[in-house]
Assembly symmetry: C2
Homo-oligomer: 574 residues x 2
């Protein structure tokens, strides 16, 4: 044997859709078998979708997954490739597992050994840990199997498999996206390959699932750490790659590091049959996708996140409140990219404090995106509230109450149209606002999906700038980039009346929210103490608002939500 | 030595309030030392509050806790009792720990060995597990130390301590309440004691923390399994108990079961000094609180949950929308009990569909509770919305949109008063409604704390009935018990137009939501298939609403929230 062929099925599966996932798996096997790959890989938990969360506590769910696995196994009759498929195995307990299937037979099962229980992961809540690495013996070549976390830990199961003689390490993952995660994975996998003197075949799923986006970016790395194939980011694809075997064998003869520890390792082994006619396999063209720049990566993550949340939850159209500001402009652009302009509806809801230029900017955006939009003033409804509440408020002065009320009337308009026409509302708040609570609960926070809630304001501008330049025309009007951000809820209001400048605010937030720097540590970096203190206080005291926010796409290394679980009741002061 | 004396400080600590907690701990030590106890116990993580969640990922938080621990240790100079105190220990990793302190010295530290990572618990996210049980040698008697989960598991660390010779097992806990949990704990601890031929001294904290309530109900059990002291439920208290030693020694001589396995166990041991003058200790009166009936237990859990959420978050007054229905009536009663009538404000917000009897019932309740209340009609505001939206809605028929709009106007009134006067809004939805989504997002779901969100409608009636009879007068008007429940959002509407009868609905929900029974399993119990199917579908598709609901008191074994983590995007169909 000169080369081994691997097909990596980088596809989008749906949590809970066990039967539809099984159908998709079967049809992908039938499609890809024409390339006569030696191995066909499907992502971690592809059969049930990832992460299934507490569905894993339902016995009927586990049983259904076993039943559908059997159907997939049967469907591989006559398929000579070895199929590696993520599912939930059930013995005396349940395991995050990879089935090894060939020609209608279950050859073996690998149980994930390292279960992540940090960040967004809760795998120790659900799964028992596997204990023994697994290699598939294929035509005299050992191929190690592992699942996601198993290869992230140095000296973990993948390393053990290499030490026991595996020349190729397969890893199936469902690894969620954050900024530049794809590149971080590449680096790690290249080191793992060259450390192990083994090729690494790494498959990641793609798709959006509530707050998570899986970015694909599957890669194949040779034993020297060189990338020899790469799947696209945020898109479905099948990546088929040939790996030359003799160079790996040679490399291992020249590098004796693995020999000395070989005896220490216990690895299970299963033998696969070899049917292939190597000479007569169809030729393949290897994909090697170009890395995206950060802004494009973010835009694509948002697009996939919106499309999957909307479609997988059964909606056709979305509704967006357009203020003429940057946040709602970018969200509308993402929505059009994700769903098509015919599925995006805008609504302008001016008040007496809305500037004409804001209304004009919103209208320009509507025209440029060529979407349908309504205009409904909030003035009369606002007046009717003030009148109704007057007996109670008569001795008080206007304050934040009246500002919030306007935002909440808009929230009600959005929800009324949502209820009437079955459209899902996309909210438009960014991470800077979500962090410090510069948003109205049940007002601008009202909706089904908070598209950019994990994108800082400074990055919102950068992504919008990239978007216009990628489209090669001014879709988001230039004036939106230039004018100072404002909520326009009272005369002459701008965001910077209440908040530090966004470049400073966003840096402080990144340090505090994502990196858990303390007040003193941030001040030591040169920031003004009062500003840092005020910012931290705002972040802490607005936990209650975030808890009632709709989900949105995780983009940063630490999004609000399952990534950052802080108590609302909290007397800790920095 | 004839007797050993234990003081169990069943007090309310606050998450994050490390300095205030330390002050409270020091003042409690000074108060209780007059009884000359041999041991003084504080709850699990008393120093930092439980559960601190991701505060544990902040280094400054851990450091502060170590600093305050030192202050507590210093404050024990001259105190002869051995103090057992829950804190976060930091070595090469962090541990959920019990400090053993005496007379200004740290004698030893126990690290919790069994870390719960199910239900509401995420301890494997934060802590490294301890490896070795710990006994304190006190005047020749071995006293085993353990933390919460360590004693819930048969043959766990507490059992190991007993096998290695401990005659008394101390366990410090922060064990959250659910229906009848106190009695379940009692049973478990009595069996653990008699199985181990050791007395068990079990301390639980009390207090509310976001969705959790800790119920106290600390108990001391002798080596035969008999309860010899019990703290109150849901109240602060110090329980001091004397345990006779000779009967335990005798019991162990007569029961050789422990001898045979003694050699197997590795236990660390620290020696405490004995200063006491047993003859001259002040006499104590042992508390043995009477068990509560379920309805009273629930009412007290709600009262404590509301009081602590409101007060610990810095609010004085609460605002409640009063419809004249049962849910808002019970919530108002709980609020008055928790905060005093002067801190509860009601608001009646009638529409054209509100019946006169509902308005009368709400007004009667206001009078009976003697609280302040406002009345503001929603009619004119509703009309102004219909007018504003008419250009868009002109070709549509009235549907759920107009019903939700009314609920949302009420939500806006509540939030406007909240913003204007700084009152926190209590929402009034019950678990039956939360389960099936029979509630309006941003409408009746708008507010800071959802008091009865984990109480099924049928139980709401029972608790209300208990409340009136406990108060020995008709505070909640009798008519509220008699009339059919209705949202009154369109003419003649009653809940049972849209939902199965509540007794059937609640039973199905209990089986599906709390016990994860499948559709078929519920139907096999004799329920109508269509009803079960419809109910399950409603539960599944309303996950998105619950995700935006305010927190509320966990009462059942499985509340919505951190207890039940289901995806919103979910194609799993029973």
């Amino acid at each position: 044997m000169k080369k081994m062929r691997f097909s990596l099925v980088q596809k989008n599966f749906t949590v809970g859709g066990i039967t539809e996932n099984a159908n998709k798996i079967i049809s992908n096997i039938n499609e890809v078998k024409n390339f006569q790959p030696d191995f066909i890989l499907f992502p971690e938990l592809a059969l049930v979708g990832y992460p299934p969360e507490d569905l894993l506590l339902k016995r009927s769910f586990i049983d259904k997954n076993i039943e559908e696995l059997k159907r997939v196994v049967n469907a591989t009759k006559g398929v000579n490739s070895v199929v590696i498929l993520g599912f939930v195995d059930k013995e005396d307990d349940i395991f995050n597992s990879a089935a090894v299937i060939q020609n209608g037979e279950m050859m073996g099962v690998y149980h994930k050994i390292l279960l992540p229980n940090y960040g967004v992961f809760d795998e120790k809540r659900y799964f028992a840990a596997g204990t023994t690495p697994l290699s598939v013996d294929y035509d005299g070549v050992k191929v190690g199997i592992s699942i996601c976390e198993d290869i992230w830990v140095p000296n973990g199961p993948a390393t053990d498999e290499a030490l026991s003689g595996a020349m190729i390490l397969l890893n199936i993952s469902s690894s969620p996206y954050h900024f530049l995660k794809g590149l971080a994975r590449e680096e790690m996998l290249r080191v793992r390959a060259s450390d192990s003197r083994a090729a690494v075949v790494y498959l990641n799923s793609i798709g959006g699932q509530d707050e998570l986006v899986f970015d694909g970016h599957s890669i194949v790395v040779d034993e020297s750490g060189k990338i020899i194939g790469k799947g696209p980011d945020f898109e479905e694809s099948i990546l088929t790659v040939d790996i030359p075997i003799s160079t790996i064998v040679n490399a291992n003869l020249h590098d004796p590091r693995k020999r000395e520890r070989k005896g220490e390792i216990t690895v299970q082994s299963v033998s696969a049959k070899v049917y292939k006619d190597e000479e007569n396999r169809p030729k393949i063209e290897v994909m090697n996708s170009i890395p995206l720049q950060l802004e494009e990566e973010i835009f694509k993550a948002l697009t996939l996140g919106v499309r999957d949340y909307v479609r997988k939850n059964g909606f056709e159209k979305v509704l967006i409140g357009l203020s003429g500001g940057m946040d709602s402009s970018l969200v509308a652009a993402v929505a059009v990219e994700a769903l098509g302009k015919e599925n995006v509806v805008g609504i302008l809801m001016p008040s007496i404090y809305s500037s004409q230029s804001s209304v004009d900017d919103a209208q320009k955006l509507v025209n440029n995106l060529d979407i349908k939009a309504y205009t409904v003033s909030i003035k009369n409804v606002f007046d009717s509230y003030l009148k109704a509440l007057n007996p109670i408020f008569s001795n008080t002065k206007p304050n934040i109450t009246e500002e919030n009320l306007q935002a909440r009337i808009r929230g009600n308009y959005l929800m009324a149209l949502s209820n009437k026409f079955g459209w899902i509302v996309l909210t438009t708040g960014n991470k800077s606002e979500m962090s410090v609570g510069y948003a109205t609960l049940y007002g601008d926070m009202a909706g089904g999906f908070a598209v950019i809630k994990d994108l800082y304001k400074t990055m919102v501008y950068k992504v919008a700038r990239w978007y216009n330049s990628n489209k090669k025309r001014e879709i988001i009007p230039e004036n939106v980039f230039i004018k100072p951000p404002s909520a326009e809820l009272k005369p002459g209001q701008v965001d910077q009346d209440s908040l530090p400048p966004y470049d400073i605010l966003d840096t402080i937030l990144d340090l505090y929210v994502e990196k858990d720097f303390s007040l003193n540590e941030i001040v030591e970096l040169g920031f003004d103490e009062e500003t840092v203190k005020k910012t931290i206080e705002m972040v802490d005291k607005n936990e209650y608002k975030r808890r009632q926010a709709p989900p949105g796409v995780k983009l940063t290394i630490r999004a609000f939500g399952r990534d950052r679980r802080l108590p609302i009741t909290n007397h800790y002061k920095q």
